[in-house]
Symmetry: C2
């Protein structure tokens, strides 16, 4: 299927602009970049990623957005309602040029059937997080997020005296699933200095990652695979080995030997596609018969795959009992195991409360930028500049170097790294200076995912198990969007549903444009201070001591925290 009006779209490159200024050329190019065939999953349907996350409601709406942006003045603002341009108002130069609200429904109507009905009527679209807000940068974000998670695991192990350094050096990680997302795990572990054994039933998935240099070796003999990762661990050497096997069998088998003291597995997690039982292979079947068996008897297959998941989760829980660091990596495997009748499934935590939340307390989150020139050299310049700006931050240097080596650009050249309160504003000013000084060829767009420290309410993911029980309080993302709108963002977005689905989350995004002007400098300073500042105050309000300390140390003003 492809929607009427479909055609290939690619953002213009270079320094010639068709809009009236870079402040409007930027959203124009980023909208088009989201639909670049290198970037979007199904560009003809305007689908960027994540199920049906769209950049615009229809091709007609896309054209009208493009036309409007081309002509928009520096004190005008375009309104976009679920991917459709609905109005233009005269505002002021500090106001955003585009305001976006996608997929929002009144609470009692916030269900998939109602959403689908309204979507079919042409009244809404699914915006995901960065699809409908025009700041998706393809798969780089996954590698970076996984890198950050494993870095945080290392930091925690070290703080608890369970790892020799604040990294994964000298540790062994066991995980499952080497697919679209999960395939970032082996490289993320080795970039953090660790050894990792990754189990996938499908050898082709492992080989594909090996070809991309995300995975060092693939083995079909468990003893050989084990010997290699154990040697690497002993020598504190990074190494990733893929083993072709079923996690529901391999995890329990390794648990026995871990318990027996034969070796010690430091970290255990999993990214098989457990959220969909038909995509998790039960132990009864082979990869070859998988599709046919699932199609022939979906219910029977589901029952078997849930039982297999229960066996895997039971092993994970018992690894935890036996001293390993264990976490759920966002694939719902705990809940599936619980449905199979395993009552200790939730004995280990999700990755957000375990590792990401401490980062959120410092306003740390995904900071991304895009070179509007289209020239990869511009990203190389920013990479070098950001390393120079933060000379002490080894973790950041490691990532930037790895990204330079492993990341292949898709669409406009982009970079992502995690920065916290204070550092984001510094980086924003630096980029604006690079533009002003002509060190890069064109302005730079600076944005972020909606998954960030102060921008989301999502009780099954980002705000799971908040300290004060405020998981479902949705005032925060709304305040975040209003704050970005007040702080010089060039476009601001408010979405419903994102990664976890209708009825389950509300989240906000913002994008600024470093065009080298003094006004941009002032705007980026306010925006990139206040936006992560929301993360600090949200977590301080929930009672996290680290956030309260950060607020005090770095001067984030909280009235009731005198």
């Amino acid at each position: 299927m492809s929607l009427p009006g479909a055609r290939p779209v690619r953002a213009p490159r270079g320094t010639e602009i068709s809009a009236r200024s870079w402040q409007t050329e930027a959203p124009l190019r980023m909208l088009m970049n989201n639909l670049d065939p290198e970037v979007a999953e199904r560009p003809d349907d305007l689908v960027v990623y994540g199920g049906t996350g769209r950049a615009a409601r229809s091709w007609e709406a896309f054209d009208a957005i493009v036309d409007t942006l081309t002509d928009l003045a520096e004190d005008e603002t375009l309104l976009v309602q679920s991917g459709k341009p609905v109005g233009v108002f005269r505002t002021n130069v500090w106001a955003p040029r585009v305001l976006i609200a996608n997929s929002n429904l009144v609470g009692d109507w916030a269900t998939w059937p109602e959403f689908r009905r309204l979507e079919a009527e042409g009244l809404t679209m699914y915006g995901q997080m960065t699809a409908g807000s025009w700041i998706y940068i393809a798969t780089q974000g996954i590698l970076q997020g996984t890198f950050e998670t494993f870095a945080a695991v290392g930091t925690k192990l070290h703080a608890e005296g369970r790892a020799p350094e604040a990294s994964l050096k000298g540790t062994l990680t066991l995980t499952g699933g080497c697919g679209g997302m999960g395939g970032a795990q082996p490289l993320a572990v080795t970039l953090n200095g660790g050894a990792v054994l990754i189990v996938d039933v499908d050898e082709t998935r492992l080989r594909r990652r090996q070809a991309k240099r995300y995975l060092d070796e693939v083995e079909t003999d468990l003893e050989v695979a084990l010997a290699k990762v154990l040697a690497a661990k002993a020598e504190s050497r990074p190494l990733s080995v893929g083993y072709v096997g079923n996690a529901a069998e391999v995890f329990p088998a390794l648990l026995e030997r871990h318990r027996a003291g034969e070796f010690f597995v430091d970290v255990v997690t999993d990214q098989t596609s457990a959220h969909d039982p038909l995509s998790y292979l039960p132990t009864e079947y082979t990869v070859e018969s998988w599709q046919a068996e699932a199609a022939a008897d979906p219910e029977g297959f589901t029952k078997k795959s849930r039982e297999a998941m229960a066996a895997q989760v039971k092993a994970m829980v018992e690894f935890q009992d036996a001293g390993s660091e264990v976490f759920d990596y966002g694939n719902s495997i705990r809940d599936e195991a619980r449905q199979a009748g395993y009552d200790r499934a939730f004995a280990f935590p999700g990755f957000v409360p375990a590792y990401i939340r401490p980062l959120f307390c410092e306003g740390l989150g995904p900071f991304r930028w895009v070179a509007l020139s289209g020239d990869p050299e511009d990203i190389a310049v920013t990479d070098a500049a950001i390393k120079e700006l933060f000379p002490e931050n080894e973790h950041l240097h490691r990532w930037i170097d790895a990204a330079g080596e492993f990341v292949e650009f898709e669409g406009l050249p982009a970079r992502i790294c995690w920065l916290g309160y204070g550092d984001r504003a510094k980086a924003g000013r630096l980029f604006n200076q690079l533009v002003r000084d002509g060190k890069v060829k064109a302005p730079i767009v600076i944005g972020r995912d909606h998954l960030d420290s102060g921008s989301v309410a999502s009780p099954y993911r980002e705000t799971e198990a908040m300290r004060d029980g405020s998981d479902a309080i949705a005032d925060w993302p709304l305040l975040n969007a209003l704050t970005a709108t007040s702080s010089g963002a060039t476009w601001v977005s408010l979405h419903h549903g994102g990664g976890v689905g209708i009825g389950r989350s509300l989240h906000a995004g913002q994008v600024g444009v470093a065009d080298g002007t003094e006004l941009a400098e002032a705007k980026l300073t306010a925006l990139l201070t206040n936006d992560p500042g929301m993360g600090v105050i949200r977590h301080a309000d929930a009672g996290y001591h680290r956030a309260i300390d950060v607020a005090r140390e770095r001067g984030v003003r909280i009235p009731l925290l005198a």
Copy 2:
């Protein structure tokens, strides 16, 4: 019960300010005014109106808001999360000084039990519409809203050739319920030139309204009451008569005589408190035994009162069959009658789709202002000025004169009237000029209810039965708040629940301050153009022809409407 720290609060009057400018003195005084014992229903509990609609989460939060506002700079912004001040950021002079998000919950958690749980934990509060957004002006709004509704009824009847003039002149209205809200009906009808018979079981409620001059006469003999209103109708003379009786009996009895051609009832509605069956008197009981019977057997009472409502609603439907204009006035009587088994209950429409929506299509909605000086003379000056500004608008003149005569100020002197796209900006500039020229003693606050043309998604009330089925689409109030934030509002609010309850609505508010400066003039122009502009584009997008015409005629820019 009263919350810890409770004390009497009243906004300061006069021209001495304690904040750093009028832009922050204004929200300070308006917060305090919301808690003035003349204004608030339970000020000790911080409850302003509408169940538990609060101005602040706790007295501690109130104090912290006051302290913060007192010290806030002209380029700083205070964030309020469900009545609690949570942060202060440096923004810019065009940004709002206060950003407020109240009572918002993620969709799947948007239920009363979850809300009550979070409220009990001290994590949220109910903001209603204008309680938590500091722009409640007590009971004047009800009289004005009722006046507008009956005016719109008159306009419709005339347009359809069913009334001699575009008013209720020469028509007879029959209604029920003369309580807190419903008691505004007789005056609202007579102000529109009509005759009205209002039926209430409780003579004391009728007498109370007579004492306030909202109701002309009270009768206990139906024939006398009828003769009086019929004479008034014949002579095209405004007259309101209260009749002591049960609407479930009186409505069917009058229907027979209407059908028989003895007289013609032009308009039929009802504002008994039908939404709560224990507050509607069944025909079996008297006012004296009411409380005891309801307490003794709530279920039996409910069954009887629903049956009585069904009898009343059946009469209303048949009045419609027999040529009368019939509407539901927001008390859920149709649904109660349906529950009693009457299957035609929804044969007549709710008042919003019937009369208010055509107004919303023009960006018409509640425009209110408050004299920060506290001097009633300042309102008299604005009343005269606004009449002069719109010399042709008879309807407005009639209201302003009536308000001067019937409205007793509660708290800071205030005025409300409905103005549409274009006129709101004119009025805002006029008030700013009055301040600049010293015609009024202090700045004027200009705000509105969250119930407005482009500010709310509420499928049981404001967005019931939208032309395109977009009742539950909640992007609009979010875009409305982002637009106000981009257009120079001094404070902006985003609430959940107000009026219809948790899970059922999302709505936004904005308040500007006319302080006589050039900056205020620019802000008010943008704000009071774009805010009602949202109403025009929301209704144009839903396919209402009137809104499309208004957009074309008055230059509201809609990209897909070329």
